[in-house]
């Protein structure tokens, strides 16, 4: 890896076939409850011919993660490789990260007393959490730690059309550039969502 490498997701909307496989892989592989969707497939311009496309969306692991900025208890931390993680033991479930997130990534299970919402849950890029790596607690709270095993996150690993790719940002950008050249569009014709900066003021 390079010195400044950052791990990023990218979903190629020209390849995504709306199969929801990544959603299912994430749900099942991480033993998530029913109402938690760390990753979801959305369809934009549904029904409009020529403009309709689908893409898979989850935590984009933003460089200047707004969720981490607004958290009143500072339960977020950003790993050296750019993966944004949070500590479920610290989280109070206030929901501010959801308000700050452009992508609706933070999820809240309704598991407290009287059905109140519990602590936040979100995509970890299959990198576990602050609990000891491969421990029972880490698996229960955050899901698998495939990054530590040297594996690709579940969603990207199972994507049958290779629409969803993950890895070092520059490497991912190279793949996208090559694909766009092959399509005949020339260079990137639009800035992908949340690629580097969640909002341009910063």
């Amino acid at each position: 890896m390079y010195k400044y490498s950052r791990m990023k997701f990218y979903c190629d909307e020209k390849r995504c076939i709306d199969c929801h496989g990544c959603e299912v892989a994430c749900q099942v592989g991480n033993d998530l409850p029913v109402n938690i969707a760390r990753r979801k497939v959305i369809t934009v311009n549904e029904g409009i011919e020529g403009k309709e496309y689908s893409m898979s969306i989850s935590c984009m692991h933003c460089t200047d993660a707004p969720c981490a900025q607004v958290c009143p208890v500072q339960c977020f931390y950003i790993r050296e490789d750019g993966i944004v993680l949070h500590d479920k033991d610290k989280c109070i479930g206030c929901g501010y990260c959801l308000y700050a997130c452009p992508f609706g990534a933070p999820q809240f299970p309704k598991d407290g007393a009287f059905g109140t919402r519990g602590v936040m849950d979100k995509c970890t890029m299959c990198a576990g959490g602050p609990a000891p790596t491969f421990s029972e607690k880490e698996k229960r709270l955050y899901g698998q730690n495939r990054i530590a095993e040297g594996k690709v996150p579940l969603c990207a690993a199972m994507c049958s059309t290779n629409a969803l790719i993950v890895g070092d940002a520059e490497h991912v950008a190279d793949i996208i550039r090559e694909r766009r050249m092959a399509y005949g569009h020339g260079v990137l014709d639009e800035t992908p969502y949340g690629w580097d900066i969640a909002y341009p003021n910063e």
Binding site: V73, Y99, A100, T116, Y199
Partner: protein, 291 residues
């Protein structure tokens, strides 16, 4: 009281029911709402990161310092005990006010602990405060409606209020001055309107955030997530104002006027205190007494 208790139980059981019934609207609106993030989303982030905490901290420190200086420099009002008691609050008013007082003593510290959650380290403690904040909100719901209607007529502006402002409520001097205030002084009136009107605004925005996925949208915004962002912004800004007025009210009742707390316990104020602090009210009841 049993009716009050049953209302409380109903509220506690209905709220989670609403929370369960709400469909997952935010997720459905996700494709449309993402491109509009800059409008309310970045505003919320900017305010939460740079301003809310500062507002709360400055308000808290400034008010406490001002009150401390007032106590040291001017000192509390002490009135001669005349022994003549004037009934000002009946039992119903006192009970309603004490429920509201209890709700505020729950709401204000728990809210501040959540705002400065980083200082307290988060986790179970702050999470418990969030639950208590909700309990306080339920107590406020049951007290704010009777509180509003039992005092709303007394809280309308009067001509004597101008004099009260001119003499600074009588708090800026050690001498006893007739303030010209009626049954409630303008300070109490401002606090009444802030506590009931802005308090209701806090209730509505807080309830929106409690539901998280409300089945209705706040005016001015198009998406559920934006209504939540707006609710969080309004909730924080309003809370700063209410915090300031609450601290002043607390200081006035506990420290600034000796024995003023007694009227909320027994319902009676001493004649001497009423003569100066609520002079136009005193004139009125004196006429009634002599009749």
């Amino acid at each position: 009281m049993s009716r009050l208790a049953s209302l409380l139980v109903t509220l506690i059981t209905i709220f989670p029911g609403v929370a369960y019934a709400a469909p997952d609207i935010i997720r459905q609106q996700l494709p449309q709402s993402i491109p509009h993030y800059l409008k309310w989303g970045s505003l919320f982030v900017d305010l939460q990161v740079n301003y809310f905490k500062v507002f709360f901290l400055v308000a808290l420190i400034a008010i406490v310092v001002v009150e401390f200086l007032h106590y040291v420099v001017i000192g509390p009002k002490k009135y001669r005990e005349s022994g003549n008691k004037i009934k000002v609050y009946n039992l119903f008013m006192r009970i309603v006010h004490w429920v509201a007082a209890l709700s505020f003593t729950l709401l204000v510290p728990t809210g501040l602990i959540m705002v400065f959650g980083k200082f307290f380290g988060g986790g179970g403690f702050v999470r418990t405060m969030r639950v208590l904040h909700f309990v306080g909100a339920v107590l406020f719901v049951v007290s704010v409606i009777p509180l509003f209607f039992m005092w709303v007529l007394d809280m309308l502006p009067e001509s004597g209020d101008i004099k009260w402002f001119l003499v600074g409520g009588g708090y800026l001097t050690k001498r006893d001055v007739e303030t010209g205030a009626g049954k409630f002084n303008p300070g109490q009136k401002i606090w009444f309107w802030i506590a009931t009107v802005l308090g209701s605004l806090l209730l509505i925005t807080g309830f929106l955030m409690y539901l998280r996925e409300p089945s209705f949208v706040v005016p001015f915004v198009k998406y559920q997530i934006d209504s939540l962002r707006l609710a969080a912004i309004i909730h924080n800004l309003t809370a700063v104002l209410v915090l300031i007025m609450f601290l002043i009210h607390l200081y006035m009742s506990l420290f600034a006027v000796r024995g003023s707390l007694r009227s909320m316990i027994t319902g009676y104020k001493d004649e001497e205190e009423v003569r100066y602090m609520h002079s136009s009210f005193y004139e009125k009841i004196k006429k009634q007494l002599t009749k």
